[in-house]
Symmetry: C2
Subunit: 371 residues, 2 copies
């Protein structure tokens, strides 16, 4: 092996987990250094009042750095909420879908399917596209969508973590219908013009920090849709009016997210991050494409995820062997989700390029030995 | 000053914040030491899959240590949920109050008032006691309660963080009515027989860890009450069936909570913790009681909180001076909540005894100079 995980600092592995996932080493080192006393204020971020000036600084910097990354316009509010994307599967329809209105969902994998299902449990939801019969292998073209011009919103998932399918161009909703997105697993991984979106949400635990906080970006005018009578914690308007401080927020995950956002700016912003990600994913997809069919990518090439690369080997026994041998080389977390089987390599922002290199080399080596 | 905060390790202050609040130094040091590689598994707790064996260990140990602290019977389930106690203000009535049933609330301060209000927004809720006219200065005796024998449950808040009022004996509900409790600010501070309770919940960020996780202890038979059609994340049954892993939980706050629970066991369990807390609170209450009225405690002596000590000085100018001078001595976070004014000293489990000693000495000294 040209690149060995065994030489990684602090005895760390190459972590290909789909989420929670690897964080930038520099972010972890900074968090460690200031864990007992943040910036000399005399206490840990884990201990400070969410109403303190220190935490206001942390929250303010996190939002400012995120806004800078996306060049986010003042029309959009940024919220840091608990409960994960799964809570957003409920909050979105509860807040944005007035009365008996229906919402449209583009179903391209397990996560958009779950979002649609939860919206359907709580009211009316249509599928504008359903990729399940095609085994969720691609993101649909605009022509494949069957859109409801009266929909409360048009929802899509920009990256399906389990199936390894990512969009390249956004779907275009009918005039007046807001576009909404679950961006949990490709958030801050590439430049996106979020000013086009009505709502974007992302559980932090892939690219944007540890588990425990969900970033919600909502166009301000949509806050007027929130009906009376929602649980206060599920009310976007309450959360926006209180700048995510209606109650005690998940302070430490927000702080970690802020460090990650600052780190991404330091790398040169989302264009630079995307370039780095494309190079990493390219190494692994090349190993698949040059394998003569030994490795079989699950996503259609035009819909391949830069974040989660899913592939199969000739049989399950070889797949198990692959995961086992890879683990011995310090390549951790490669087992595919049980819903699709095979291998899944998650190459989030914080995965070091040498980890992708090591995986590609391992794949070639494994094929030579077992192909 | 006999005990100076300026000599504290790592330049840390004495943190009297009402929450998020001081954590045990040994817990912070351990978290810091293993932040880049937990127990040699090759990654941080901040990065590991919630489905990994490592996190299963963390979750399992956290629950086991908490169960041991309370000697919790198998009849009760332990959940680690997001959203704070404020989300429980909604989840409790949504799950436990079937159809048109009403729930009873003992209103003894700002938090039980908020819990009652949220339950009332989402259905029927009665006040079994309302201390607001009496300015929330005491926890009622059983004779003061007006109980609904048909109530879905009887709710109380065991410690009112803002008003500094704590119960000594539990209220007794009518036969068949479950007793439920918001224990956010005195959780694991003293022995309590939780087998008597139907539901107990506690935001971690006072005694039990950092912000971001809420511990919910629910008697298993009550899970049958959960109606169909709740948002999945708000459904106790779904959360219990999935052992808090229906979606990605707030992993790091759970881990920190686990360290805190283990630390409390190491101190000798809740009886030892309570003894230590009583000694700390005793120092400050003694300073109040010996001040000849210069310091005026807000809670009635029989309802005094061991966690949050609220008191006034002769006038607001002196109160501001007190907070300012105390801060100069490294005594941080003493300003009372705006709802009641004055001073609030929060003396949670993790506050070192020398901090209480330093505060008591400062109070005597301040009175000598300004009284």
């Amino acid at each position: 092996m040209a690149t060995s995980a065994s030489a990684q600092p602090y005895g760390r592995l190459f972590n290909f987990s789909a989420g929670p996932a690897v964080l930038p080493l520099s972010v972890l080192e900074q968090a460690q250094a200031e864990l007992l006393n943040w910036r000399g204020v005399g206490m840990s971020v884990l201990e400070m009042s969410h109403r303190s000036a220190a935490f206001e600084t942390i929250l303010g910097e996190a939002e400012a750095d995120l806004r800078a990354l996306y060049n986010l316009p003042a029309t959009h509010r940024v919220l840091f909420l608990p409960g994960g994307a799964t809570l957003q599967f409920a909050m979105q329809p509860l807040n944005l879908r007035a009365g008996g209105q229906s919402a449209d969902y583009i179903v391209t994998g397990a996560w958009s399917k779950a979002a649609h299902k939860e919206a359907g449990r709580l009211g009316l939801a249509r599928k504008a596209f359903d990729g399940e019969a095609g085994q969720f292998t691609h993101f649909p073209s605009q022509a494949e969508l069957q859109l409801d011009p009266q929909a409360a919103y048009l929802h899509f998932c920009s990256n399906e973590t389990i199936h390894g399918v990512e969009n390249t161009a956004e779907p275009v909703p009918p005039a007046g219908v807001p576009l909404t997105c679950d961006a949990s697993s490709d958030f801050i991984s590439r430049p996106v013009d979020l000013s086009q979106y009505g709502l974007v949400y992302a559980g932090a635990q892939k690219n944007a920090g540890p588990a425990g906080v969900t970033i919600v970006i909502v166009r301000e005018d949509l806050l007027a849709r929130t009906p009376a009578g929602l649980p206060l914690m599920l009310d976007y308007k309450v959360q926006a009016e209180n700048r995510s401080l209606y109650n005690t927020p998940p302070c430490f995950p927000i702080y970690m997210g802020g460090l990650v956002f600052k780190g991404a700016r330091g790398l040169g912003g989302l264009a630079a991050v995307a370039e780095r990600n494309a190079a990493k994913a390219g190494l692994v997809y090349t190993a698949i494409d040059r394998s003569g069919g030994f490795y079989r990518g699950l996503a259609r090439p035009d819909s391949r995820s830069q974040m989660n690369i899913t592939f199969r080997l000739p049989d399950e026994a070889l797949e198990n062997q692959f995961v086992k041998e890879a683990a011995k080389e310090g390549l951790d977390g490669l087992k595919g989700h049980r819903a699709v089987g095979g291998i899944r390599a998650s190459l989030y922002n914080a995965l070091p390029p040498e980890a992708a290199q090591a995986l590609a080399e391992f794949m070639t080596d494994f094929q030579r030995r077992h192909g």
